[in-house]
């Protein structure tokens, strides 16, 4: 899998942000998932194959974005830190926070 992992926003020059419940991101855009109040928002994100999704931690607590199947795993994200992953294969990707595993969410790649 050609995963590009961008940490801490250092390489995140792309400005186009699409967020909102199940907002389909156009290929090439970078939909964001907010991590806030121990929740991933939107809880389900649907994107076309090839989309890079960016998570941003708005909590004061550390969180992670972790695929139990091992497809992707962020490092520990401090407040305002970001993590991105490019979904190059269609499928349903469940993920959770490894520190607070009651935090669960899904990316649907079409």
């Amino acid at each position: 899998m050609n995963a590009r992992i961008l940490i801490g926003g250092a390489l995140l020059a792309v400005g186009a942000i699409v967020a909102g419940p199940a907002a389909p991101g156009a290929a090439g855009s970078t939909p964001q998932v907010a991590i806030e109040n121990f929740r991933f928002t939107p809880s389900t994100l649907t994107v076309p194959t090839g989309t890079t999704v960016t998570w941003v931690n708005h909590d004061a607590e550390i969180h992670t974005v972790t695929s139990p199947a091992g497809a992707f795993a962020s490092p520990a994200l401090e407040t305002d830190e970001k993590f991105s992953f490019t979904f190059n294969a269609p499928g349903i990707y469940a993920y959770f926070c490894a520190l607070h595993p009651q935090m669960r969410s899904t990316v649907v790649v079409q």
Binding site: F38, A60, A76, M103
Partner: protein, 305 residues
Amino acid sequence: MDMDRRGFLECMAWVGTGVVWTAAGGVLSSRTLAQAAETPAGGDFGFVQISDTHIGFKGEANKDVAATLGEAIARINALPTRPAFVLHTGDLTHAQKPGAFDAVAEMLKSVKTERVFYVPGENDVFLDGGKDYLARYGKGTVGGKGWQSFDHRGVHFVGLVNVESYKAKGLGSLGAEQLEWLEDDVRKLSSSTPVVVFTHVPLWAVYAKWGWATDDSEQALGYLKRFGSVTVLNGHIHQVLQKVEGNVAFHTAMSTAFPQPAPGSAPSPGPLKVGDDRVRTLLGLREVRYIQGRGPLAVVDSTLA
């Protein structure tokens, strides 16, 4: 059953008022007479539980977690009777921050006791699957995997790891291998042996929505059912809660680092900000005393305030 219910209600009153010293004894002494006859030979001793030191945490809830751990250590060292040992029930570090394990180890060197036993919290293992933790504390545990048992003056102690496969259902989990070991470990013991289990995530369902439960704890408790006195000590939820179920007394402990909200009382289980003047009323440590011929263990929680 009536006795247990009364014990539970007393306990809840105790939690509500925050007066720990006398009522903690009350909860346990309601069962003292029934069990006194079963108490095996052995000398009196005491030990201390500390939990959730979260070294590396720098949030608003407590900007100096090393200072509050230092205060907890000073309390231990000021106890009139030196504790036989100290149990650390996990989350030594905050999210495995670099240098945090070393800092905890350095600080705990000053504790006046024979030994410190550890179980990991999810903060100690989530990044590397427990590699660093086990390199430091796995020695002498079963297969180097972190869980262990030992006997001290007639009391059987079991340290369980329930954060290794934490992700499975969003809850703590012991796993088949550890459960099998536990069943075998306690099989040889007489039912009159007092058993103390220490672990990180609660072994009773405190609040599953926040992950404050262990998915296969029922199975573990099943192996302990026949014992006259079982005391379960855990951390993870940064507050004192108690529950008595049959012969099993559950005690969750305070953190030395930061408090967390009561189950379901906040949108999330994130650190509770109560201000610098109040935080020490919600942080603390626990002393447990075993008195020969007196039945169950006496559990006394005290705050840093």
